[in-house]
Subunit: 151 residues, 2 copies
C-alpha cells in the first residue's frame, strides 16, 4: 500500500516549517478557542459538500515529528463537514458548544469532553444544527489516506 | 532502531481487548473529568519519583489501531510526575485547574486549553503546587521508548 504523508480531511499536501523542526513549544490559550501562533484556516481548499467550518492545526505543521496531528475545528450554525469515509481513524473530543456526529448508522449528540472514536472506513460527518458554534478537537494519524466523499 | 510497542510513561506492556478491535465507540463525559467506560488507573505501577497522579486512557486500550494514544492525567495537590526524558514526543493540553510544566530549562504555567509540545529527549515534568486538582490530556505515539528517570 502506498504511504501518503499529507494533510487529508483537509487535503493540501505536506506543510512543515523545517526551521522549527522538533522545537518544544508553548501555545498559550487566548480564550474563545484561539491560541497564540495558531492560524485559522479553511476546513478544505475546495468542495461544496461542506459548509461553515474553520480549522486550526494545533500540532502537525510546526515541525513536530509526532505520528499524529491535533486539529481544532469549529462549525458555525448550520454548518457541516464532508460526509466521507477513509482508512484512517478519527478521535473527536467536544470542546465548544454542541453538535451532531454521524458515525455509520448512528448519530451522537456531542457536548463538552464527549469523545468519539471512529473506526477505519466508517462513513461519518459532523454537523451543527444549533445556533451557537460547535468546536471539537480531531486527532488523526499524521500519515493518512485521501477521503472518499459519500454522495 | 528497535521498535517497542508498549505503554510507557506508564509502562505496563501492551493492553488490548482484541474483541473490541476497531469498533467505533462513544465515551460520554460524566462530568468531573470522568467518562463512561473509562477506568481510573495508577500513573505508573512502580517508582517513588512521582506522587498523587491518576491516569485514564481515553484512546489506546480498547482495540484502536491509531498511531497515537490519548490519556487524561490528573495530579492532585502537591503531586508531580516523574522528571524524565525519552525519545517520543508529548503533547499536553490543560483541561482542569492549573499546574506547572517543566520543559528543559523552561517552566510553564498551564491552564485550560494551554498546549505544550515537548520535543524528543527533552527533560520534562508536570507538577501541581496548587490546592485544586490539575488535569490535562497527554497525547503520545502508540509506539514509544522507555523513559529515563532524571535523578
Amino acid at each position: 500500500m502506498k504511504k501518503i504523508t499529507g494533510s487529508f480531511c483537509d487535503w493540501r499536501g505536506k506543510v512543515k516549517e523545517k526551521s522549527l523542526l522538533n522545537q518544544s513549544r508553548f501555545y498559550k490559550y487566548k480564550g474563545n478557542f484561539s491560541w497564540n501562533n495558531i492560524k485559522k484556516e479553511k476546513y478544505k481548499q475546495s468542495g461544496n459538500e461542506w459548509k461553515n467550518i474553520v480549522r486550526q492545526t494545533l500540532i502537525g505543521n510546526h515541525g513536530e515529528t509526532t505520528k499524529f496531528h491535533v486539529r481544532y475545528f469549529e462549525i458555525s450554525a448550520g454548518g457541516y463537514s464532508s460526509f466521507e469515509k477513509h482508512r484512517h481513524e478519527h478521535v473527536v473530543i467536544g470542546l465548544n458548544g454542541e453538535g451532531i456526529c454521524i458515525v455509520g448508522k448512528k448519530k451522537y449528540h456531542i457536548k463538552f469532553l464527549d469523545i468519539i472514536y471512529i473506526k477505519p472506513n466508517e462513513p461519518h460527518q459532523l454537523r451543527n444544527p444549533f445556533e451557537k458554534p460547535f468546536g471539537f478537537l480531531c486527532i488523526v494519524n499524521s500519515r493518512r489516506d485521501k477521503p472518499v466523499i459519500i454522495p
